[in-house]
């Protein structure tokens, strides 16, 4: 917790192209959704809303805004932790605790990966779409989210290896 980086653990190494791309995509998605909403507010006041299904488009973009950066955020060890109870633990112990955290993360996101895989598969099979003018199919957004969870698991596995071996971080 807090902005103070943990000196006991390796500083983040290079990020993969995909991780950096995820953050960029998220930033662009945020600007896009901001523009869509603004455009519709203005056009609605002047005449009528020009972007159809804006609520659905924004929801789809939110997937990118939220899930795009999670692998990089994980790589930077930015997730909030409770640190008060383990402040006196030494460097070796700190690394072991970090490994426990990575394992818990892998298990949690493993569940989510499986869940989203099934969700995607079902939407693909039923051809389910969001009711609206554009009839946006559900599976692409869900597939993207599934990929994001796979990415974060991969990153956690790298972090686990780094902290286990005490070595430098490499993607």
């Amino acid at each position: 917790m807090g902005p103070l980086s943990d000196p006991g653990l390796g500083t983040p190494g290079r990020h993969t192209l995909l991780e950096r791309g995820g953050v960029t995509a998220a930033g662009l998605a945020l600007v896009t959704l901001c523009l869509i909403v603004t455009l519709n507010v203005i056009s609605r006041a002047l005449w009528r809303a020009v972007v159809p299904d804006d609520i659905l488009l924004v929801s789809e973009l939110m997937l990118i805004v939220i899930l795009g950066p999670i692998a990089l955020v994980t790589a930077e060890r930015e997730h909030i932790e409770v640190t008060v109870f383990t402040e006196r633990v030494g460097q070796g112990g700190r690394r072991l605790l970090a490994c426990l955290g990575h394992l818990a993360g892998i298990a949690f996101f493993g569940f989510l990966l499986a869940a989203f895989w099934k969700l995607t598969l079902k939407s693909w099979q039923t051809g389910e779409f969001y009711d609206g003018l554009l009839a946006i199919p559900q599976w692409p957004g869900q597939a993207l989210a599934t990929a994001a969870f796979a990415g974060i698991i991969l990153r956690l596995a790298f972090l686990l290896r780094t902290d286990l071996t005490g070595g430098r971080e490499r993607p």
Binding site: R44, A45, R48, A49, D54, I55, K122, T126, G127, E128, F129, Y130, D131, A135
Partner: protein, 338 residues
């Protein structure tokens, strides 16, 4: 097994509902649960999870089919493809008597083979149905004709939104909770709504004209059960569930008719000095509205056929049932008044 007497284990039905545990729909659900308990001699009880705490409206169909909950309130709107047939209940069909519409749609959903196939595929069993009552418009100015709809900013949803857009309205989407300030500030002029929700959301305070379209109902939301949970019930319990669920339709219709009439009267009389004026379209204009609705229904029939569902046959069955129940009502009145 064997001859030793065995106490029948009580079945607890875990029920997921998207809405709050108050209001007339929640009370009707509680009635359903009480009747189940009473008529099964305590065998069946219902454990409610309100407010989407267990499953949101969007997630309920999937949650029921996988057994997250045993039963729940399914909203067809969220699965336009998986429940294509059931979504017929939301279409603008000239069918605005609560009891006739609900009874006909319940019969269709319960007994039509194509519907049964659809529900089987989704691994759910259909038990019973809700309705919103007839669709009306609440507006900040008097809307008296189809011509008035042209360019009018209306908040609407689902197929009625598409139908209103086809009549020239500028249709906006927003949640019912956002409507009050939007009407107040003039962002929208009208809202597609039902009498009870106009009153519940206090929209009469900021918009004093209601155009009574009496234009079909929203009925694609009902009580469903996980198919395996349903099959696992004892023969006796399943009969109780079916009987109570069928009676629920009459109960629901009566509740809605009484409540809508009371809410309408209260708003016309005025609440804290705010009253509504009721407007009606001329017969000719109402015919235009119904004809426009027909176009939407035709669109649905075509899309259904493209997806391999005989939409025309389903629609014909539905219309026949509406006719039959309308005749029954004309001859004998509502069941609770007989």
């Amino acid at each position: 097994p064997g001859l030793a007497p065995r106490a029948e284990a009580a079945t607890v039905i875990r029920y997921a509902d998207y809405g709050p545990n108050r209001g007339s729909r929640a009370e009707a659900l509680q009635w359903w649960a009480d009747q189940l308990k009473q008529r099964s001699g305590g065998d069946l009880s219902v454990e409610f999870h309100w407010g989407g705490a267990l499953l949101s409206g969007k997630a309920t169909l999937n949650g029921l089919s996988t057994g997250v909950a045993d039963a729940g309130t399914v909203i067809g709107f969220f699965t336009p493809s998986e429940l294509r047939g059931y979504n017929l209940g939301d279409l603008p069909v000239d069918n605005s008597d609560e009891w006739v519409g609900l009874r006909a749609f319940y019969d269709l959903s319960k007994h039509n083979a194509a519907m049964k196939k659809e529900f089987d595929k989704a691994n759910v069993a259909y038990l019973s149905n809700f309705t919103t009552g007839p669709i009306q418009l609440i507006c900040t100015k008097a809307v008296k004709s189809v011509a008035d709809l042209s360019g009018l900013k209306i908040r609407a949803s689902g197929p009625y939104g598409k139908a209103l857009a086809a009549l020239g309205a500028d249709v906006q989407r927003m949640s019912q909770a956002d409507v009050y300030p939007a009407l107040d500030s003039g962002v929208i002029t009208c809202n597609q709504n039902y009498f009870y929700a106009m009153k519940a959301y206090k929209q009469y305070e900021v918009a004093s004209y209601v155009t009574e379209l009496d234009w079909g109902q929203n009925m694609s939301f009902g009580i469903f059960m996980n198919k395996d949970s349903y099959a696992a019930l004892s023969e006796k319990d399943r009969k109780v569930v079916d009987a109570v669920s069928s009676d629920f339709v009459d109960h629901m219709a009566q509740v809605m008719i009484d409540e809508l009439a009371a809410d309408r009267a209260a708003m016309v009389k005025g609440i804290d000095g705010k009253a509504i004026t009721i407007e009606k379209f001329s017969e000719a204009d109402r015919a235009k509205v119904v004809a426009d609705g027909k176009t939407q229904v035709d669109g649905w029939v075509k899309a259904a056929s493209d997806a391999g569902l005989d939409g025309a046959a389903l629609l014909a069955d539905y219309e026949a049932k509406i006719k039959a129940y309308a005749a029954e009502k004309a001859a004998k009145g509502y069941p609770w008044a007989r």
